[in-house]
Symmetry: C3
Subunit: 169 residues, 3 copies
């Protein structure tokens, strides 16, 4: 596999770990000393919310800080149009992301009615922005060294803000 494909697969594993709220899978794609930095968009200015340091802390954040899906809910973190630069054992990637929120309708006790057709629920794009990671090739495998997340909206996760503030104070 080419370096570019391997790097795209790291991003693909990132979005699955996020959608599955799988902290172990998320930790596994970061270097032990890896970092995540989150930025919001305040009318054109990227404002740094804070950072998570270490693969373990990043994994723990996925498990404990991301809201669990409701019983009939799911999310799809999707990425698009990557620009990848590889220089030796270091690489950067720049990709759009769009997060779709899937909310299923409650199934009636007697099952879906005869006339029901189409998706029983809604799909809504709730977040968008850019993932801009730096990756390192260590032991033949590309890993996230620093993931910068730029949201196109302002202040997306207040709850995360509040909880993280204890760590970053």
């Amino acid at each position: 596999m080419s370096d570019e494909r391997e790097i795209q697969e790291v991003m693909a594993r990132y979005v699955r770990a996020a959608d599955h709220r799988d902290g172990t899978a998320m930790s596994d794609i970061f270097l032990p000393e890896g970092k995540t930095e989150i930025f919001y968009n305040n009318a054109g200015t990227a404002e740094r919310l804070g950072e998570l340091v270490g693969a373990k802390a990043i994994g723990a954040a996925v498990t404990t800080l991301m809201k669990p899906h409701p019983p009939r809910g799911w999310s799809h973190h999707t990425t698009h149009d990557p620009i990848i630069e590889v220089k030796g054992d270091t690489a950067t990637l720049d990709a759009h992301f769009v997060v779709f929120n899937v909310v299923g309708a409650e199934k009636p006790e007697g099952g879906w009615p005869e006339k029901a057709a189409g998706a029983q629920g809604t799909i809504t794009p709730i977040e968008a922005g850019y993932y801009r990671p730096t990756l390192k090739k260590v032991g033949g495998r590309w890993m996230m060294a620093l993931l910068r997340i730029y949201h196109s909206h302002d202040r997306v996760h207040l709850q995360i803000t509040l909880r993280l503030s204890f760590q970053f104070a």
Copy 2:
């Protein structure tokens, strides 16, 4: 072209065949004995709706079971963040999908008014999930051997359910 790119192109041809309701193009990417299995998401449990067996039957389903587009309608079956594993002449792919439904507004008899701007109609994400095919390389060409479709919603196509039930009873 790398195996990974060829496999992505099979998926790209799949979504175009679906959007064009082109049963011939759809049959053409499956092995003669290829299968499609469709699963829905019942509150976290993947429930198997049924399967279509054979490239011909799969193509016929696209032509006869998928609802035709209205005159000003279209769809975009889009896929994202593929994870691809190639082992010799067998490969698996795992990709998110999101289906966008395009519904155009009716054009007024006298044409669009002077003030009209922007899209004359709506674009709505109506389905999402994962395509998880197994492919085989036969005669130098990657083909779909088994396509598993996992919807993130419950019971998306009741009409297909009812009609397929005759085949799968």
Copy 3:
């Protein structure tokens, strides 16, 4: 990097130039004599709106004809499922596109309220269709020679229509 990846990166740079309203970056990916043709979908018939000729004119259109983002707005032109054919120094690409419009809510003077969570604003898919460019490799670099844009909706940009009509009359 493979030809296919380089060609995908040209498309990735196109969407970023569009989202940043960056005419210089847009001009830079077209051959000096490059063209853009725009088509709309009138109930199944692709109607040619007009064309822009020359990298400079295409860049100027991005800067002067595309509506600027509002202070808390942004766009994400995303592309999906490319089909790429390379023959020597000429290549074609066929990709879906979906444009997402991000509109942020106005930040209250005293900051976001304690209870605010989630995206403060909306993300709406506003355009979809196909990008079908022909590219040429010149001096070792893939460049847009002709970009055909097929919208799945009818008459998306009336303002561009009106202004372009002077050029194409």
